[in-house]
């Protein structure tokens, strides 16, 4: 058993290192996009991103907004976000995600996450 663990460690450490290196590269490659909300509109109606990219939802309006995914499997709800707050959301799977502000039905956007 001990031997097995040792051999597993010997095998695992370089694997972890490779994984971490890969993750670091992926992280370095991942892009960050910003979606603003001034004037009760999302700053883009559509946004194409890659898997692993982050969208920062920035409320630069003067009233509270909500950011809610209405796409099953990619659910998230940022709750009530007051003016002057930003929240990063990272998309980890290829999908088309519809996003609304639950408070303001005129605010809609679609995020297309590709591989």
């Amino acid at each position: 058993m001990r031997e097995f663990i040792r051999s597993t460690r010997q095998f695992t450490i370089p694997t972890i290192a490779a994984f971490l290196l890969g993750a670091a590269v992926a992280s370095a490659l991942a892009a960050e996009h910003t979606i603003r909300q001034k004037g009760k509109v999302f700053s883009a109606a559509e946004l194409a991103v890659k898997k692993g990219d982050t969208i920062v939802f920035l409320n630069d309006d003067n009233i509270t907004h909500n950011v809610l995914s209405i796409t099953a499997g990619n659910d998230f709800n940022l709750g009530a976000i007051g003016p002057g707050n930003s929240t990063p959301v990272t998309f980890t799977k290829a999908a088309v995600v519809d996003i609304i502000c639950a408070i303001h039905p005129g605010m809609k956007m679609q995020v297309k996450v590709s591989e």
């Binding site: 909500n66 659910d75 998230f76 709750g79 929240t87 980890t92 639950a102 408070i103 303001h104 005129g106």
Partner: protein, 339 residues
Amino acid sequence: MAVNATRSDANVIVGTTRAVEIPKQADQSIDQLRAAYRRPKVIPFPKSNPYTPEKAQLGKILYFDTRLSAANVLSCASCHSPAYGWGDGQPRGVGHNMRVLGRRSPTIINAAFGLVFMWDGRAATLEQQALGPIQADVEMNLPLDALLARLKALPEYGPLFKAAFAEPEITAPQIANAIATYERTVVSARAPFDAWIEGDEKAISDTAKRGFVTFNTKGNCANCHSGWNFTDDSFHDIGLPSEDIGRGKFLPSVVKMQYAFKTPGLREIARRGPYMHDGSVSTLEAVVEHYDKGGIERPSRSELMKPLRLSTQEKSDLLAFLNTLTSTLVPTTVPVLPR
């Protein structure tokens, strides 16, 4: 500060909400404010249901036809009557068998400009909305197949549908499209406020002008009652003592949607009492008092609802302003119904 944020499933990772510096929005001049309230020049009709006079005329006939209800006594116009600013003047609607409904009948004025429909936003389009009350057992209580059989049995309806749609059969989508088209033609007439917006300084009083400024500033009203129709169709809990959770039924995970209802437009508002989604406030004076106090404090209540500390003069100015949204209405003619 994020309140009540729900964290994600594995496909989406939500990070921490952080405060960031944003530029303070500059105060708008009165001319800039006025520019945001100009009337639109055209009524928007969707590409999927464009306007034709034949369709609008058929829609008007259907809208006023009581045979669209199981008991043959209720039409769309029973609850959304031109005689009452396209509402019914009652605190809450009255449906099949005189049953009192849970909410006030909303006006259909300027429905063409709506983003979502019903107090709780459950209808995405006016076409979808049009068929809802007809079938609802507590409202008009008439299943669509029964409605279609009735209309097909009235010989004078056939040519009207043919003229509007040029299809061999009367269908439910045709009924929805016709009623929605007619409803979109119900646009509030020009009011003294519009004349002032377009430059006639004498069209409204100085009191009303002060009220307009309060409406857009200290009163916080224009955060939701914005634009020429005085609504952005947003959903808010305004702190009324009601058990009805409104929009919350459809968005149970969003705390701010509990007890939230759609912001109504304010055109013809002086004619449209009683007020609020449940008709619980009788007068416009009492409405202003409610907003001044801020309503019941609870997690779902909108951040915009808080004590405003308006002076007596400011309240009176606001009321004077709201009265400038009343137009000189031309009576609506009731159509002769097909037999």
